[in-house]
């Protein structure tokens, strides 16, 4: 039997609360169509390619039986019917929504979703010689917390869903004491899954370096959850009929987490993109307020500024797209007749709404590739949306891009450093590189074409990960392994020598390591169809070598390459040809291959460079850089503080023209006159944010229990910051 293309699974469109409301019960049960995949039950869990569902409830130390998608009765009925009392249905629901969300991303990105790796403690002397660990699946625990909360844990690479007894403000809305399961809410599952996917795309976005960073995570996750509503045809038609096509009126599509919101004592949903309940208990549309962007710092609330901007862009495009339908239906008066809309009209409106929503969703997702790898702001996200869309879609008759600009402008979100809010000035400028280095860039571009070819036909996500990693770090020849690896190891041994002698615990088998490494490379060659005498000089090394014209590349990337890193607080690392060069890391290497609606093709390879500058701060001002090459902690005076500032850039290479197209940067160094100098303003801003502003933005929990907002132990993405 051929495998079917999809697995149909029943679930709630929103959450269980809408199934017991007269006006919505008929549309709340939908069928999720998830691309077919084999499920592995061998360990007793529900394990697919991307996720594994483990239904263990630590609060009562109980494991629940795992739902089996294989049984005939299951298949015949599109899975279990929605039920709050059956944990197996809960598993089905999280699986269906998480996979739907993942697949939406893959459709928009045109490539496979990879999870963020697990960073490891790097300590080769004690056998810890890996920087990171590949994560094949995220874990989903549908019943992991006994509170009104749910989160993606970047530490555990897991989604934890809570359940709790509801405490509604008005008993007419919900029976007090009702058990509320966050794992049964489409919005919450989609939101948390998006956190995990975004972490895989941009791992530094969980470090708040300005007020927008965590807010972006929250807002983006809400945007995905919201626009997924529009992919449920029956729900869409129902709501269009109800609002007579005017989606700026109160409707379910613009609301998030109904049951959860009521259960924790809100007057309705948890968040609403277009309006809210006013003092009289009535719904009213939200008017954009530019002050909010300056005042609101709590990540969820700040994120909802972004959400409402995107939603407004959606609404204005939708209005334009249905203008003709409205004219037809209203005989040109613009005023629709009393009574219900004709079902045909509803269908047409729904189709426009769904199309627009999908476009918006894709624009929002694709823009992630065009964002700086660290320190994202809403303004930069707007620029990324405009740039990514301009690259792919040449003509823009419905003025999607203007709609975005307009909506962001109304909320006081302005990108820094541009002169006017036009599409032209918001689009990142194309790079011009002088003749000589340009040719060097062409060499790198050609090399990346090779990467594109190697990666293009791989579907196995772990292979994609391994190949990408190998392209960054290189594949040496067999005879070079010992040299290459041995040098690395020896250097590390030197670094650790003193400590190692003290502890006398050199647990280290050199030959074993070499052996394992060469086997690993052999496997890689197999995957990559490489001959045994073929080698790859890694991208990292190529950048080190090619980007050696200090001034040119410092200006281009805002980062420091070559031998002058120490002057800017950047650590050196010893290259294999024995020279000290400024250290940096390459991340997020990815192929972007998309076809636009008019046949435009985008063939790009994108990668990010991240670099760290260690500086000493005094009186909230930059005092001096810290000599980066020393491993020792500096002797600081009492009022001096050591601060690590991360600079970064995203480089976008056009594979067709072999040109470096954009450099989207968060500079460590900037050019002033002919001088290259440290970006002191950015350092000061970031320091100020992390040391003063955040104290006010910290939740009560953080205030009492953790020392800093960047606390690795605690979860940054809780659905609700309680107190």
């Amino acid at each position: 039997m051929n495998t079917p293309s999809h697995r149909k699974l029943r679930g709630y469109a929103f959450d269980p609360s809408l199934s017991i409301r007269l006006d919505t019960h008929s549309i709340n049960e939908i069928i999720y169509k998830v691309p077919w995949e084999d499920i592995d039950y061998s360990d007793g869990t529900l394990r697919g390619e991307y996720i594994e569902v483990i239904d263990y409830d630590p609060t009562v130390e109980t494991f629940y039986e795992t739902v089996n998608f294989k049984s005939e009765s299951f298949l015949a009925q599109n899975g279990l019917s929605p039920s709050e009392s059956n944990p197996k249905f809960h598993q089905q629901m999280v699986y269906a929504v998480a996979m739907t969300t993942i697949k939406n991303f893959e459709r928009a990105l045109g490539r496979k979703v990879l999870w963020s790796t697990r960073k490891l403690e790097y300590d080769p002397e004690h056998g810890k010689d890996q920087y990171e660990e590949y994560i094949d699946r995220i874990r989903i625990y549908p019943h992991a917390i006994r509170e009104a909360n749910a989160y993606y844990s970047p530490q555990k690479k897991a989604l934890l869903f809570g359940y709790f007894h509801s405490n509604p403000i008005d008993q007419a809305d919900q029976m007090p004491g009702t058990l509320v399961y966050t794992c049964l809410s489409h919005d919450i599952i989609a939101h948390e899954t998006t956190h995990a996917i975004l972490d895989g795309l941009q791992r530094h976005y969980n470090h708040p370096t300005n007020p927008d960073v965590l807010a972006f995570h929250e807002g983006f996750a809400d945007i995905i959850a919201l626009f997924q509503h529009f992919s449920f045809p029956d729900v869409l038609k129902h709501q269009i009929a109800k609002t007579k096509g005017d989606l700026s009126r109160q409707n379910l599509l613009g609301e998030l987490a109904q049951q959860f919101g009521v259960a924790i004592g809100h007057y309705g949903n948890l968040r609403d993109a277009i309006g809210g309940i006013n003092e009289n208990g009535e719904w009213e549309p939200k008017t954009p307020n530019p002050n909010e962007y300056n005042e609101i710092m709590q990540p969820h609330e700040r994120g909802s500024i972004l959400v409402s901007a995107v939603f407004e862009a959606f609404l204005s495009i939708y209005q334009r797209r249905i203008a003709d339908l409205n004219r037809i239906a209203s005989n040109g008066t613009g005023i629709l007749p009393e009574g219900e809309l004709h079902p045909d009209l509803v269908n047409r409106l729904a189709s426009e709404a769904s199309k627009t929503a999908q476009h918006i969703l894709h624009m929002c997702i694709r823009a992630i590739d065009y964002c700086p790898p660290t320190d994202i702001t809403f303004g930069e996200y707007l620029r990324a949306i405009i740039t990514a869309d301009s690259d792919l879609v040449s003509s823009d008759p419905y003025a999607y891009r203007l709609a975005f600009i307009e909506a962001f402008k109304k909320r006081g979100i302005y990108p820094v450093g541009i002169n006017s809010l036009s599409v032209e000035s918001l689009r990142y400028p194309k790079i011009t590189v002088s003749e000589n280095p340009d040719s060097l860039i062409k060499v790198i571009a050609s090399f990346l074409r090779g990467y594109a070819n190697r990666i293009a036909y791989h579907n196995d996500r772990e292979h994609i990960y391994e190949i990408t990693k190998a392209v960054i770090s290189g594949i040496p020849l067999n005879e070079e392994i010992e040299e290459e690896y041995g040098r690395k190891v020896n250097r590390q041994k030197d670094d650790f020598k003193i400590r190692a002698l003290e502890t006398e615990s050199i647990n280290y088998s050199y030959n074993d390591k070499i052996h394992a490494y060469s086997k690993h490379l052999k496997d890689l060659r197999n995957i990559m169809d490489m001959r045994n005498d073929e080698k790859i000089i890694g991208l990292h090394k190529r950048v080190t070598i090619k980007f050696n014209d200090f001034n040119e590349f410092a200006e281009l990337t805002g980062l420091v390459f070559g031998g002058r890193g120490k002057r800017y607080g950047i650590k050196d690392s010893l290259t294999d040809y024995g020279m000290n060069m400024a250290a940096f890391s390459i991340q997020n290497l990815r192929l972007v291959s998309r076809v636009g609606p008019n046949g435009n093709k985008v063939n790009q390879v994108i990668f990010s460079i991240i670099q760290k500058s260690n500086v000493i701060i005094k009186d909230n001002e930059f005092l001096k850089y810290h000599n980066g090459s020393s491993n020792k902690k500096p002797n600081l005076k009492k009022e001096e503080k050591l601060f690590a500032y991360k600079g970064s850039c995203t480089l976008i290479m056009d594979l067709d023209t072999r040109e470096l197209k954009y450099s989207i940067k968060k500079p460590i160094v900037i050019k002033r006159g002919d001088e290259i100098e440290l970006n002191k303003k950015a350092i000061k801003d970031q320091w100020g944010f992390q040391n003063e502003v955040t104290v006010n933005a910290m939740s009560e929990f953080q205030k009492y229990f953790s020392a800093a907002i960047n606390d690795n132990a605690f979860e940054p993405f809780a659905l609700l910051h309680q107190h």
Partner: protein, 490 residues
């Protein structure tokens, strides 16, 4: 009958027992007779031997007799002296009157019901704290966590969290020698059952009390907020914002505390039919696989649940502080003792339906704040202890003097991040022109960067006082080994 004349002075003495409140107020009349009032007797920590020195000094100061004892709320830093030095208080002191908040009236059925529930939460907090301690001792978990990036730091953070939680635990209840939960604080128990013998006046907001032995003084009860009825009613009206913070702890069912303390009822058990449970070993082996132990979730729900619970319980009790404005009628001066009231309580003071309406047309609460010349800072200068617009900004008297019971030598280390709050500190120093008396200024700084010692800043701010004020302040202030004292001249 002794005929009193008017009050001439009030001495406010703050005992330096460590972060925590222990105040004695002595009202002097121009006759020999005085009236002594004690507000709270607590500290964050200290041995019996150490604390006895303070209590003995206090005893000598008041000749073993307190006319009025006020206990603001049941937190260790407000009642611990009665536990550690119970023998002195029981044998060598006499107390005429004892006042507490209405919410301490255990005879009241509604309070009792509420206290039972609240007790459950406190117990849950204690048990969760113990479970977290236990889990963190499991090296399978900690070793796995340490393998990850910054793993040592993360494990350290969890340990820090566990310590912080233990501190919260100690703030709220007594444990026996084995660390088992034993119920409410022993200090409170001793006051209620041994010292007071049920002779307690329970005060409600809106009451204006006076004592026959203390003519010319009115006690305006500000908090704790809400009548018992309102407490029982869990929420405000739809569409209004009149729910108070402490209502949060009155949730009909708190899933987290239920599952910790009570596994016998429905709430504490698995919500699903037992037929769905599985004892399949495969899945257990998989979950408990040592290499993937960092992905297990047995600790997470405890950390998040217990942390939030601790904060809720803490705010709940703080907002149940007996808060009072003591008015010296002739001079119209007001001494404000809010206990540890947090914002929710402050806010409610402005909605009290007072019988008395000031001539100036203001709400009495605002009027009292306007006339405040002495403010005992609530909650040791923390961010949530002093309301801004509805509190400090209304204290407009040019004579304002303030005392804060903060001492970094005796405090939970985890409180140091929230205390002192720079914003409140700045405004207080400004408002009092440096007449802010802190229990122990050592290791306290005015600014974030810890460059300006607080003591220096306070001193330099005092230069803003005119000569007469400076002289007056010098005369009124007294500092000895065991206490700091300020005299209000009437």
């Amino acid at each position: 009958m002794i005929n009193y004349d008017t009050i001439t002075d009030v001495d406010i003495r703050m005992y330096g027992t460590g972060t925590g409140d222990c105040f004695v107020l002595k009202f002097f009349y121009n006759t020999e007779k005085t009236f002594t009032m004690m507000i709270d007797g607590g500290t964050w920590k200290g041995t019996k031997a150490h604390l006895s020195k303070y209590v003995n000094d206090l005893k000598d100061y008041v000749n073993g007799h307190i006319d009025l004892l006020v206990i603001t709320h049941e937190h260790k830093d407000h009642v611990y002296l009665f536990d550690a030095c119970s023998d002195i208080f029981i044998n060598d002191f006499t107390f005429d009157e004892i006042w507490m908040a209405w919410s301490e009236d255990d005879q009241d059925d509604l309070v009792k019901e509420w206290k039972d529930k609240f007790g459950q939460k406190k117990k849950a907090l204690a048990m969760a704290s113990d479970q977290i301690n236990l889990k963190l001792k499991d090296t399978t978990l900690t070793n796995q966590l340490k393998r990850g990036f910054k793993g040592e730091e993360i494990v350290g953070r969890f340990n820090h969290f566990s310590d912080a939680l233990n501190d919260f635990k100690a703030l709220h209840f007594s444990a026996d020698k084995t660390g088992e939960y034993k119920g409410g604080l022993k200090g409170m128990d001793i006051i209620k059952n041994t010292i007071a013998k049920d002779n307690i006046r329970y005060c409600k907001p809106g009451e204006i009390a006076s004592i026959s032995k203390l003519p010319g003084v009115k006690f305006h009860i500000l908090g704790p907020p809400q009548s018992i009825k309102a407490i029982r009613k869990e929420h405000g009206k739809k569409g209004t914002n009149d729910t108070y913070d402490h209502n949060k702890v009155l949730k009909r069912s708190d899933s987290f505390s239920a599952v910790i303390t009570d596994t016998t009822t429905n709430i504490g058990q698995s919500p699903f039919d037992s037929k769905y449970k599985t004892d399949c070993n495969k899945i257990k082996t998989y979950y408990n696989n040592e290499d993937a132990f960092w992905r297990t979730v047995d600790l997470d729900w405890l950390v998040s649940g217990a942390g939030n619970l601790a904060l809720r319980v803490n705010t709940g009790i703080n907002n149940l502080s007996l808060a009072m404005a003591i008015e010296l009628e002739d001079s119209e001066k007001v001494l404000l003792f809010p206990g540890d009231a947090e914002f929710g309580s402050w806010e409610s003071w402005h909605t009290i339906d007072w019988d008395k309406k000031p001539d100036n047309g203001k709400h009495l609460t605002e009027d009292l704040l306007n006339r405040t010349v002495f403010y005992k800072v609530a909650h040791h200068l923390s961010h949530n202890g002093t309301a801004k617009a509805k509190g400090l900004q209304m204290m407009t008297s040019p004579d304002l003097v303030s005392m804060a019971t903060l001492d970094f030598d005796a405090i939970s280390s985890n409180w140091k991040t929230t205390m002192p709050n720079r914003g409140i500190l700045k405004e207080l120093i400004n408002k009092t022109k440096g007449r802010l008396i802190i229990m122990n200024e050592k290791n306290l700084f005015y600014d974030f960067d810890e460059k300006i010692p607080l003591a220096d800043r306070i001193k330099s701010e005092r230069s803003r006082l005119n000569e007469k004020q400076q002289k007056a302040y010098k005369e009124a202030y007294k500092e000895e080994k065991f206490y700091k004292q300020y005299r209000i001249k009437v």
